[in-house]
Amino acid sequence: MNAPAQPLVKIRDLEKRFDLSGNFLEQLRFRNGRFTRQQEFVHAINGVNLEVRKGEALCVVGESGCGKSTVARTVMGLLSPSGGEIHYDGQRIDDLDGKTVLPYRRKMQMIFQNPYASLNPRMTIQQTLEEPIRFHHPDWNRQTVRDKVHEVMHSVGIDPDWGKRFGHEFSGGQRQRIAIARALAVDPEFIVADEPISALDVSIQAQVLNLMMDAQEDRGLTYLFITHDLAVVEHFGTRVAVMYLGTVCELADTRTLFDSPRHPYTQALLSAIPRLEDDRPNHIRLHGEVSTPVNLPSGCVFHGRCPYANERCRTEVPQLIATDGGAQVACHAVEEGRL
């Protein structure tokens, strides 16, 4: 089932650091009678390898600060990587200049978390949707553009007659539909969705999720879906990558991951979902705090909260290793058969 699918997007050894220390003068410190230069970084992503296969929905889950949004933005080219490569359909795209990257920008579109912030308040919906089409198809005439806008509005369930209205006249769910329409307007192949339903109410979440699944079926889309909501992942994802402090700790088919999570962090995360069925949560309680990505712990990033951590975990960084179940897990305990 998963062997023949081609990788559409390849992320290789991706690293992203954000400089916290400001300009040269702000970096200078006076200590013990000497000037020294001090730099501090947020290590948002530390060597992430992922492949998104054609036609699948790869979900990236993790808690806040784990780097999942940074992965999304780096793939889209909104941030430039500090290290590593990003390939789209066999072509490296992270080092292309503004002009040569354009065709890829059309094929890759993004949906953001907050539909209140991602629509320009001073543009009508018609203008919002026409802009990307005009930009990517400068040779199209007015009528063709209009027809296209009409078609995408129709396909996301927004009445095309509402084109003259502004974003603020719509509810949150409708705005997210418009944001999806804007992404679909240029006929993309690959969509990065960064927490697209987290800001919406329960009954509206179902509507938007259905819309995204319909679009995937009708247009053969490939998704990179960023979320913290595991129930959504179970429903929507083909495969799941679990991230913790900038590294992938487990990567598996959705069914495999939910049936038999291997990494101790994945196990804790799954047990923490509040479910309707059981009475008393039988969840694994993690102790300790999430470390900050400024001072990364040595060894396995999870060792401070892991009940199975030993000396090796504190010193050596675990690599993603394939297990018999088909999952890839980065954990010394799993590798050694202790777990």
Binding site: G173, S203, H235, F236, I273, L276, R285
Partner: protein
């Protein structure tokens, strides 16, 4: 007698062009040590309900009718001075965002001691000891040190633990928690919820939990209320409602959860969105989104009917119950 009894509470917001009815004839009760869930989507009025219990509704909002009986005394008719003796002391609140509730320029210790001194005749040293005990109870590591720290020095989960410690400071009878874990990560959320539950049981405190998360409600509470457009549309034992919801809206909410659907298939969806307060439809407020709506639903607000232990406000459910009764009479 119930510890807290709310009868026909009406809350309105006076704006240009008339009053917005935020709560319409809300009634419920809370017993000692009970855990009650209040569920609804944004705009349903669940936070307004929580705030109005302690009369914390700011102008232009006001309580237009009904009563809030706490140990038999009407909070809605009390003076500010009398209320101040109850707020934080007998009834405590926990809010969604701990950074908004803690004063950023005072240390944790100062804020806790201040609360104790406001309600009790107590010396600083004794107050500090009580504060320290409470921080220990909420399992904060090195509580001694935390007392002298400022809120920004703590993580989100730690801050919410401090908030819980402050809520428990004066041994209240009721804690009203408004989305206490929504701003937190999943694993931290589970920890905080378990802690809150444990402490409420230990101290025999009644908990009113306001949330949009049906999973949390089903795990934590014994009874629940479902709100829609300022009305309670269904209330009763949590288990009964989760397993066999009567109102079409509650059914829709439960079925729309991704965990109820088959992976990869379309989810059940309720069409449309919650109406805003200035455009509440006549009759049953849910009728424009309801697949069972009839002409009666468009004209008349449904009264409550009882099915099992659950009260439901729905014309169609009433019809079903009446039909069942008739059949039973016919056979006997």
């Amino acid at each position: 007698m119930a510890l807290l009894e709310v009868n026909n509470l009406d809350v309105r917001f006076a704006v240009r062009g008339g009053d917005l009815k935020a709560l319409r004839k809300i009634s419920f009760s809370l017993d000692k040590g009970e855990r009650l869930g209040l569920v609804g989507e944004s705009g349903a009025g669940k936070s307004v309900a929580a705030f109005s219990i302690l009369n914390l509704i700011a102008r232009p909002g006001y309580i237009a009718g009904g009563e809030i009986l706490f140990e038999g005394k009407n909070l809605a008719a009390m003076s500010d001075r009398e209320l101040r003796r109850i707020r934080g002391n007998r009834i405590a609140m926990i809010f969604q965002d701990p950074m908004m509730t803690l004063n950023p320029v005072l240390t944790i210790g100062t804020q806790m001691i201040e609360a104790l001194k406001a309600h009790r005749r107590i010396g600083t040293r004794a107050a500090r000891q009580i504060a320290l005990d409470r921080l220990k109870q909420v399992q904060i590591p090195s509580p001694d040190k935390r007392l002298d720290q400022y809120p920004h020095e703590l993580s989100g989960g730690m801050r919410q633990r401090v908030i819980i410690a402050i809520a428990l400071l004066l041994d209240p009878e009721i804690i009203i928690a408004d989305e206490p874990t929504t701003a937190l990560d999943v694993t931290i959320q589970a920890e905080i919820m378990a802690l809150l539950l444990e402490l409420c049981e230990q101290h025999n405190v009644a908990l009113m939990l306001i949330t949009h998360d049906l999973g949390v409600v089903s795990q934590v509470t014994q009874n629940m209320l479902v709100m829609y457009a300022g009305r309670i549309i269904e209330q009763g034992p949590t288990k009964e409602i989760i397993n066999d919801a009567q109102h079409p809206y509650t059914q829709g909410l439960i079925n729309a959860l991704p965990q109820m659907g088959e992976p990869g298939r379309r989810l059940y969806q309720i069409p449309g969105a919650m109406p805003s307060l200035n455009r509440i439809p006549t009759g049953c407020p849910f009728h424009p989104r309801c697949q069972f709506a009839t002409d009666l639903c468009k004209q008349e607000m449904p009264e409550y009917v009882t099915s099992g232990n659950v009260d439901v406000a729905c014309h169609e459910v009433r019809k079903l119950i009446e039909e069942e009764q008739q059949q039973r009479e016919m056979t006997s």
